[in-house]
Structure formats: C-alpha cells, structure tokens
C-alpha cells in the first residue's frame, strides 16, 4: 500500500475532543467530579451533607437530559478552547454511553452534531492484529537492498507472481495505454466509455467475464452473462448479498477460521451477524455438517434467525478446497433449513495442489429446485492480480436477487476505462490460458519453497491446495497455549523478527497458535530471510526465560 503522508486520525473520534475546534468544555466535567471526590474520600459531616445532594443533583440532571429529546444546544460558544485534561476523559466515557444526547451541557459549551451510532466502531483505531500488522508492514516495508531490516509482509493476500506477464500484455496489446482501448488510435479515446453505462456493468465485460469464469471457476459448467452483476470488487458484492438476503439482526453461519475482513464487510452497514462454525485441525480444518447443524440450532434457541451460510472456497485463511461431497451436503443442509448459500470463490484460479477445485455452480447444475438459494462471489483481485482495479462479480441463479443486485450496484460500479481494459484482457483467451497455467506453476513453486523452509525449522502447515498463503502451525511455540500466548508470539514475530503474519485469533480460529502466512508477495530470494528470522524467534521461544 502506498504511504500517503500523515494519517489524519489515528484514534477514536472521541479523542478529537482535544482538537482545536469545538469540543465540550472541561469545566462541566470538573463540576461533576469534585462533589464525587468528596464522597469517595470519605470527608464527613458538613461537606458530605452538601456534597451528596450535589452529586445526586448532577446525576438527576444527567438522567433527565438523556430522557429529553431533542436536546437544545447552547446559544453561546465558549471563549476558551478546551484542553485535554483527566476530567475530560471521564466526559468521553459518559458521552460514549449516551451517544445520542447532548448531555453535560451547560452554558458555554459547544456540542458537536450527532453522527450515526455505527461511526464510533468504524472510526476507532484498528485494534485487530490483522490491521495493525498491515499498517506496520506498510509503514516499514522490507526491501532486500534499500531496507533489509524492514517488516516482511506475509499478512496481505496479494499475488505479485504474475504481474510481469500482465504488464507485458498491456505493453504489447494496448500500446501501454491506460485507457485500454486497443483501437486504431492506440486506445486514446474516451468515446464509448465516458457516458453513463449500465450500473451493473457493460455487456461486453459480462460476456468476457462469463467466459473467464467458465474456464477457471466452472470448469465443467459454463457461466451465463445474464446472471452476472458487476461490482467494484468482491467487498461490495458480499455486502450487496447481505443487504438482499438478510434483515438487520439476522445471521449468517460462517466456517471459522475466516477472513478478518468479513467482520467489517458484512456487518458494518447491514447490521447482519456472523456466527462462526468452528473447524478443527483434526479434520484438517474442513467444515463438518454436524458442527453446522449445531450452530444453526443454537442460533435458533437464542432467537437468532439464520438466513444463510457464507463459504469461502478455496478457503481463506486455510487454503483447503471443499470436496464435492461436502458441497452436496451443504446444499442438502441449506434446503432442509430453507436458507441461502453464498459461495465466495475468489481464489478459484489460485490452486496449486493435486486436489480439484469444484464450484458451487457445478453442484447446482443438475438441481433446478435449489437454484434460487445459491449465489457466487468472484473477482479479479486474486486470480488476475488486479486488486486496485476493483472488479467483482455477483453470480446468482435467483432472478429476484439479480434484480435487486443490479439496482444496488449503482453504489459500487466499476469504472468504465477499467471495464474496457479488463474486457480486452479477458477476451484474449490465449493470454488468459497462459496466465492461468503460469500462475499455478509459480504458486506451486513458491508454496513448495516456503513449506520446505518452514520444515527446516520444524514448522508444519495444513495440507492446502489453494489460495496465496499457507496455514502455519506454531502452536508448539506458544506459551501459554491460548490466545494470549498466540498474541505474544504474533507480537514477537512482528516487532522482533519483523515479520507480519496474521494470527488465527484475528480469523476467529478456535485453536490457538495458527498463523496465516502469505507467500505471494515474496521473491524466491526472500524466503531464506524469512526462515532465518523465524528461526530466531523459535530460539527465543525455546530458551528458558
């Protein structure tokens, strides 16, 4: 990620109280705190006699202000901009719990206009190791020559292994043109792409995408362009499906460990809940139907309405592929409970093992009755290494869902120059075939190297066949054997060894000690460096402390 100069806000918006502009006055806080101090410190007699009524009065005011609506803001403004003090931190505590009212008003304080309840959780500092690690790695990125002590990024599932092929293609076929026209003027034309396009994507791209998906996702079944809705990435595709299939407060079952981004993408604005269905190392982290059933029943007992299952296949973060049997069983389960299946097949072409990828599209191919409940999410961020271009797909067999998605994607459409460039690329079936094969080969090679390196230092991974990462077992190194031990190791890896790997707890893994390590942002020569650094950490773990 590009470093973009100083980040404006690092902390919770509420800490903005200390900023230059309007803010609550600290005087109000003092008026609350002082009488309370009296009670707490046990000064008796006269003081208590006056202090307690004061305190009660203030609490009464507080209570009343919460009940009153809408609250009236003050007419005047304070002349002194407030400075951060201890008392104002108490203020922020109170504000957070009563976010809606302009409480603690008194003469002279400025109150900020209300924002949505969701803002507080979105704007606050990232406390997940997933995001913290990504930030650290991008702030101090490793470079063999220029920054050999930088952080090696193993936490970002980005595929750099085939970018050279794509770059060459652009140079040759599009004369290096950003507009990607490939016409007689060398693509320097905005005609045909400047004006309003259908929000759900240009037909030419839908056709090209259907062709591409038929090759790498469907394999034995083909995809129909009229069932495609294009979105600016897989992120909005998933959100649109959540908006369409579930009401606020409804839930999706999701096999865990899962991609940390889902917590944000699926919940932030939709109000949907995620119920993890834990997978175990004893099963090689494969999904078990009994576990799914149990999670469903528990949800029902809690009064939570389950609307569907979200799978990622190939799985992120584990990298395993779902077997045909499991997929059929899942369909049976979904039919029995009358719920939807969202199959996130983003890594479909990024397979490198002996196992075969099977899409939900193949399973549903012979089952007319259940077609309405299956929806596939796809995109070009992983398989074609173009995450910046924002190309995502909703593929559904349900006409109603398609109709709704076509309308909703007006909020997340693909930019037309990108549609044109990608159409050209996907239509070049020779190139695509070659790219897919090379990609698999290079993934395999890198995976083998990485695995071999880990083995040398005594570390194992689950057997995986897809994705851009491996699921690494460091449980033997953590002490104690719980989430805290895992986070301690994560911290050591990040701050001492300077490696950013994603800890399993960020992915809601129920067994501690597992880490997702992406190997596709590395060069071959970086692998020994990584292994050496890991070795260093292992030594500190094993040595008596």
């Amino acid at each position: 990620m590009t470093q973009t100069g100083h980040r404006r806000i690092q902390n919770s918006g509420l800490e903005d109280e200390s900023r230059e502009q309007s803010s609550q006055s600290s005087t109000t806080g003092m008026r609350l705190i002082v009488p309370l101090q009296g009670i707490v410190q046990g000064r008796g007699g006269l003081i208590l006699g006056s202090v307690i009524p004061c305190a009660m009065f203030y609490f009464l005011q507080f209570y009343l202000k919460r009940r009153r609506s809408p609250p009236n803001p003050p007419q005047e403004q304070t002349s002194n901009p407030p400075s951060p003090t201890d008392s104002s931190s108490n203020l922020t505590e109170l504000s957070r719990s009563a976010s809606r009212s302009n409480l603690l008003l008194s003469r002279g304080s400025i109150v900020r206009p209300h924002v949505s309840a969701r803002v507080h959780s979105i704007a606050k500092a990232n406390d997940s190791p997933y995001y913290i690690g990504l930030d650290r790695a991008s702030a101090d990125p490793y470079d063999g020559l220029n920054n050999p002590n930088g952080v090696i990024q193993l936490g970002l599932a980005e595929n750099r292994l085939t970018l050279d092929l794509i770059e060459n293609w652009i140079t040759e076929k599009l004369s290096d043109s950003i507009l990607g026209g490939g016409d007689s003027r060398g693509g320097l034309s905005v005609s045909g792409i400047a004006t309003y396009q259908p929000f759900d994507g240009m037909m030419e791209l839908k056709v090209a995408m259907a062709g591409f998906m038929s090759q790498v996702v469907g394999r034995t079944v083909s995809f129909d362009p009229s069932q495609i809705v294009l979105t600016s990435g897989a992120t909005p595709a998933i959100e649109i499906l959540c908006f369409s299939l579930a009401d606020q407060g409804n839930a999706f079952l999701i096999p865990a460990p899962y991609y940390p981004g889902f917590d944000r993408d699926m919940k932030w604005r939709t109000g949907v809940e995620l119920i993890p269905v834990h997978c175990r190392s004893s099963d090689n982290f494969a999904l078990s139907i009994p576990a799914l059933d149990q999670a469903f029943n528990q949800a029902r007992k809690r009064g939570q309405k389950v609307r569907g299952i979200l799978l990622s296949n190939p799985s992120n973060p584990v990298g395993n592929l779902m077997t045909r049997e499991t997929l059929f069983s899942l369909l049976d389960f979904a039919r029995e409970k009358n719920i939807h299946i969202i199959s996130d097949e983003l890594f479909a072409a990024s397979t490198f093992g002996d196992e075969e990828f099977v899409s939900m599209a193949e399973i549903i191919d012979s089952q007319d009755a259940d077609k309405d409940r299956v929806h596939i999410v796809y995109g070009l961020s992983k398989d074609l290494a173009l995450p910046g271009f924002r190309v995502g797909v909703i593929y559904s067999f349900n006409e109603s869902v398609l109709a709704v998605s076509r309308k909703m994607t007006r909020f997340s459409p693909i930019s037309s120059p990108t549609q044109r460039l990608v159409t050209c690329m996907l239509s070049d079936t020779t190139f695509i075939k070659e790219h897919t094969e090379r990609n698999r080969e290079r993934l395999r090679a890198m995976y083998d190297l990485f695995l071999e390196g880990l083995k040398q230092v005594g570390i194992d991974c689950t057997k995986s066949s897809g994705g851009l990462y491996c699921w690494v077992d460091m449980s033997g190194l953590i002490r104690p054997y719980n989430e805290k031990g895992e986070l301690d190791l994560w911290d050591k890896l990040l701050n001492v060894a300077k490696i950013n790997a994603t800890p399993g707890s960020a992915c809601h893994c129920i067994e501690p000690g597992w880490f997702r390590c992406c190997f596709t942002t590395l060069d071959e020569k970086d692998i020994p460096v990584v292994i050496e650094r890991i070795r260093g950490v292992i030594e500190t773990c094993k040595s008596p402390s």
């Binding site: 903005d16 969701r118 979105i122 950003i178 507009l179 990435g233 606020q248 109603s400």
Partner: protein, 446 residues
C-alpha cells in the same frame, strides 16, 4: 422491461430487497423505458423518443479527446512514477495522493479560487450516488430524517433512503419566490419531522440546484448555515453542478461561506462532488465526499472500501486534472457552451409559449406548463407528461417525481444531445403547443 420482484416459493429475501424504495416504478423511470424502447436517432430513427430526462453533459467531449490525443504520456502507464504493477496492486482507501491533490485543485478552480480544499479531506467514492449514500450512513441512523428542499433530484428517494433506512422530509419551496429556500420553510420542515417523532440529522441541499438549474443565493446559504447551527445538525451541500454555472461569479459554494466565517462550526458541513457532470465523465464513476469533520473523514474513508475508484482511473485522471492549463480552459469553454445551449432552449420554449424559471446553471431548465394543465393537480401534470411522451415523443421529467409542491413544472435536459437534436425537439414541442392552443381556441369559441 418491467423489473418484477417475484417471490420464489422457497427461500426468502430481505425487507430491503422487496421494498419499493428503489423507486424504479415511478414515472421518472417509466419515461426512460419508453426511450429505451424507441430511441431517437438522426438517421435511423428520426421519429423516435428524444431523451431529455438524462442530465448528462456531452457538450465538451471533444475537449477531452483532444487533450488525450495531444498528451499521450498522460494516458500511458510506463512513464508514471508508480508504474503498472504498483497501480494494479493499489487498493488503499485513502486513494492515490496525486489524484486527491488533483481533485482538490480542480474543485478550487471550479470555484474560481474563492475557496481552498485540502487533499487530506478528500474521500473518494465510485460516483456521487455512492458519496451521498455514504454520508447518509454516517450522519444518520435508520428512522432518522434528512431535510431536503423541493423540488429535488428523484434519485435521492432511493440513494438516501433505500439501504440506510433514513427518511426524507421535504422543505417546501414555491414558485412565488423562485423556489428559494426560506427560514420559515426550514423551520416548518423541522417541526413536521419532529412531530412525526423523527430525529432530524441534517439538511441536504443541491447547489446549483437539480432540477431548478439555479444557484443558491449567498443570503440563503447564510440562513441555512445559521439554521443548521442553531439546530446542531449537519449540512450536506451537493455541488456536483458547480462547474456548470454559466457565469462563474454567480456560484457561491458553502466552502466560501465557511471560510468567511473562519471555519467556525464548519465540522457540521460536508460537500459532495463528482466528475460526472462538470467533466462529462459519468462512466468513470468518480465522486468525492469532502468533509470539514475529522471523524466523518475517517469513517467515510474506511467505508469507501465498498465503493473504491479503480486505481487505473485515478492514475489517468490525476495527470489530466493536474494540468492547470487544460482544466482552466475546459471549465471556461464548458461554461460558455452550456450557457449558449440554455439560451437556445429557453428562447425556443418561449417562442412556443412556454416560460421557464430563470436559471443560471446545470444541464437542464425548469419549465412551467401549469397554464396548460387540464387540472392543476398531479394527475393533470402526469396527463400532459404522458401526452408529451407518447405524441411529442420527448422524455422529460415531471415535477411530481421531484416532489415539487406545485403541479405543472418539468425538468428538461439540453446537454446530452447534439444541437441539431435539440432543434428537432424544440420544433416538435412548438408544433405540439400550436396544436394545443388551436384546439383550446376552438373549444372556447364553441
């Protein structure tokens, strides 16, 4: 083709999915369907429906093409500081710094340098549609209300309400004062919302206005700002037509008012902008939320993950929009061409006996057909709208779709067609009005 939401017998969809809030069954969209089915074409279909319901700017397209042809470097990957690889991988929701700088600079140019914009406050979204929805998600909760002056862009009913669950309460404006927003109307709307137990979270204005095609006066902007300050609510100023003002001095941005007040209380203000209208690139899907509120900037940025602009597009436009010579010339010529078009249509309508609101911006005019309605009601309006669509074969937007409180007003777009097509449309309208007047005269004689 009607879009039917068929409920499958098996698995159900969400309430949002089955609601009608997407609004695509309103007359505004019905006209589009008529056009889709029988589109006008100079040679191939000269009797087809002329689309005058789409606010798209095609008048300055040639300037863009000329620029790209003579600036091949701007449109190629290789010469960039960050080449293809970095660009293809770049998905940072902060957006390309060079592009944000270019957007901030373009926004300043459009305002004639009368306000400054900080690239750190520019949050990128895939279009203004997404920007408006994003702000609504941030400023309000389901069930809350936004106050919006009527008449307003029909798309707001969907964009601001559908997935957010937020309500729109209209601020009624009247032709007696040229549909300007008054303090009384603001108060009245606020009270109405409160009486319905809705919490008002902000006021959203479009300046220059869609569909009026007129800028908001300085005095009115000051009054609105005072109002939102008094009520401690937000102000969203959708300024996507700011570059389409015919005379630059006539547009006052909220940014200027805030600067003149030394940014006191500016953290309740947010501006929406886009390149769809001013630069005629709606296909590119480039919008921005510009907020003076740090918390809103942070939140909007993170939320923009759902609606990022392709890095390819950001790179291409960063170069183009940083080219001061090009942008200044473009803005000037674009304004001039729009002004000429406006004069053509207003004169043409006048000769046909139709008056328009005095406008000074935008890609449309606000036409008054109320003297010609059979009855001064919404159904009277829709009756004449239908006639115009079916007999005159023009798709224009009825004021009722824009929630106008007075019947008989129509928005007519003039920038999405060639000059010849505009003449054809005016001719048709002229004939229609002549016929109508003759019929009326005959009736009154009998």
């Amino acid at each position: 083709m009607a879009i039917e939401i068929v409920q499958p017998s098996g698995v159900g969809l969400s309430k949002i999915a089955v609601s009608e809030t997407h609004g695509e069954n309103s007359p505004y969209f019905a006209g589009w369907k008529a056009y889709d089915e029988n589109p006008y074409h100079e040679k191939d279909n000269p009797s087809g429906v002329i689309q005058m319901g789409l606010a798209e700017n095609q008048v300055s397209f040639d300037l863009l093409e000329k620029y790209l042809e003579s600036n091949q470097e701007a449109a190629s990957w290789g010469k960039k500081v960050s080449g293809f690889k970095e660009n293809a991988l770049f998905q940072d929701y902060h957006g390309l710094l060079s592009f944000r700088k270019a957007m901030a600079s373009f926004m300043e140019k459009v305002r004639g340098g009368k306000a400054k914009f900080d690239p750190e406050r520019v949050v990128l979204t895939a279009g203004a549609t997404a920007a408006n929805e994003l702000l609504t998600f941030i400023l309000a909760d389901p069930g809350d209300a936004l106050l919006i002056p009527t008449p307003y862009y029909p798309g707001f009913d969907r964009d601001l309400r559908w997935r957010t669950g937020v309500e729109i309460v209209p601020i009624h404006c009247e032709s007696s004062n040229n549909f300007q927003i008054t303090p009384e109307a603001l108060e009245s709307a606020y009270d109405h919302a409160t009486s319905m137990n809705m919490k008002v979270r902000g006021v959203l204005i479009t300046n220059p206005s869609n569909p009026l095609g007129a800028t908001v006066q300085r005095k009115v902007l000051e009054e609105i700002l005072d109002f939102v300050t008094r009520k401690n609510i937000h102000l969203v100023s959708d300024e996507i037509y700011s570059g389409s003002v015919f005379h630059s001095h006539e547009f006052i941005s909220i940014a200027e008012i805030l600067e003149s007040r030394n940014h006191q209380d500016s953290e309740r203000c947010h501006i929406v902008y886009s390149l769809s209208k001013d630069l005629g690139l709606p296909g590119f899907r480039v919008g921005t939320v510009y907020s003076y509120n740090d918390q809103v900037v942070t939140t909007a940025r993170r939320m923009s993950s759902f609606t990022l602009i392709s890095s390819q597009t950001q790179l291409l436009l960063a170069t183009m929009l940083s080219d001061s010579e090009f942008t200044e010339k473009y803005i000037e010529i674009n304004r001039e061409r729009l002004r000429k078009r406006y004069e053509t249509i207003v004169d043409g309508l006048k000769r046909a006996g139709i008056e328009c609101l005095k406008g000074n911006a935008g890609l449309f005019c606000w036409m008054n057909l109320s003297p010609y309605l059979s009855e001064n009601t919404k159904s009277g309006e829709l009756e004449i709208w239908k006639t115009i669509m079916e007999e005159v074969r023009l798709n224009i937007s009825p004021g009722s779709s824009c929630r106008c409180s007075e019947a008989g007003w129509f928005r007519v777009c003039f920038a999405n067609m060639s000059e010849e097509t505009l003449e054809v449309a005016l001719l048709r309208l002229h004939e229609f009005m002549d016929t109508r007047r003759r019929e009326r005269n005959m009736l009154s004689v009998l």
